[in-house]
Amino acid sequence: MNAVEQAVDTHATEGTGRHIRFRVFRYKEGDAAPHFDEHTVEVAPDTTVLDALVAIRNRADPTLILRHSCFHASCGTCGMRINEREAMACVTKVLELGSDLVTVEPIANQALVADLVTDMVDFYSTFNAIGRPLICESDAPSQGTEPPGIAEFNRFENCIECGLCLSACPVVASDPRYLGPAALAAAWRIVEEPRDRDPHAALRLTDDPQGSWRCHLAFECSDACPSNVDPGQKIMLLRRRAATERLRSIFGGGRRD
């Protein structure tokens, strides 16, 4: 272990904060194997894990690679595994972890680029695969009023594409062909509220052994999701719709429009 002891204050708390040890996952292209670096960081009650990591990078080790943008769990870029659990580093307060040792790793089940940064291209491309690309033309409703009961939808719009659900899912861990919770939740969004998209196409794509039927109901995705999208529930709703459509096609009534 390459231990680097250096006290870093992340807020104006010099001398008054608690000292927390950070074990930070490190890997650069060409390294034989990943290792952990250790830093001691003086933290205040409001210091987040991202604050601490940025302080480590700014004051102790400028070679630490991490990704962040908004600092308020909207951009989805700082998803990590913090003490073995998927979390957004920007809204995870260090002292609320209740441990003097904080281990920070990149999200699992994704290709690693370096240190805490994973390659998200495959993850993003799953949204294209189910017909709901991340970058799309505006589909804002023509009228500004919200439909009644909209809160009950728990809408997919809350997804911040952070990838924590993929990191937490035990099926993604062992099966690279599985579409994954985020893309399936996006597919349910099309089925539930298609606007001008084709819900049958999304349903056909996900009614597949590597689609909604690959899920084994661990619901870790729903627990890991920082935006309460509840992908596990969406996958089950996709299955119900798919099963209903199949029964309709067998016993008459045809596919529902």
Binding site: Y27, K28, E29, P34, P62, T63, N83, E84, R85, P106, A108, N109, Q110, A111, L112, V113, A114, T118, D119, V121, C169, P170, V172, A173, S174, P176, H216, L217, A218, F219, E220, S222, D223, G232, Q233, M236, L237, L238, R239, R240, R241, A243
Partner: protein
């Protein structure tokens, strides 16, 4: 730091460099660290499923003793009535109950029914299983 300033004009092509896949593999199934209720249900179903499958083969092997005559079978029965073997029966019943009862939840929720109650259903079914397991264990050991 290996940052490189890019001048005006066409942006430099950014190569996608993927160093190492960090897929957790089958360890992702059984890693119990910081899992929640659904995750433990997933792990429990896998372990008990494998255990029940293993039992099926052991069961067939034991039944094959019947073909070896009465003495072979009587020998097995005397072992089967020992406290250690009876404890294995309790483990077996645990596996069957856990897998079967969680299977009810997995089937219902897996077809999109009572999805929002899946946690409560898991807890409720496991409580039922625990009660049945205790009754079964008492009967097994009192009969012995």
């Amino acid at each position: 730091m290996s940052g490189r300033a890019v001048g005006g004009g066409e942006p430099a092509r950014i190569e996608r460099r993927v160093a190492s896949p960090r897929r957790r593999g089958v360890m992702g199934w059984v890693d119990v660290r910081d899992r929640r209720l659904g995750g433990f249900g997933f792990i429990l179903n896998r372990l008990t499923g494998l255990g029940v499958l293993l039992y099926l083969f052991v069961h067939l092997m034991v039944l094959s003793l019947l073909a070896q005559g009465p003495s072979a079978w009587d020998n097995f029965v005397s072992i089967a009535l020992s406290p250690a073997f009876l404890a294995l029966d309790v483990v077996l019943i645990f596996g069957l109950l856990a897998h079967g009862l969680n299977g009810i939840r997995v089937t219902l929720v897996g077809f999109g029914l009572v999805v929002d109650r899946q946690r409560a259903m898991f807890v409720g079914l496991m409580v039922i299983g625990a009660v049945v397991l205790v009754i079964a264990a008492l009967r097994i050991f009192s009969a012995g």
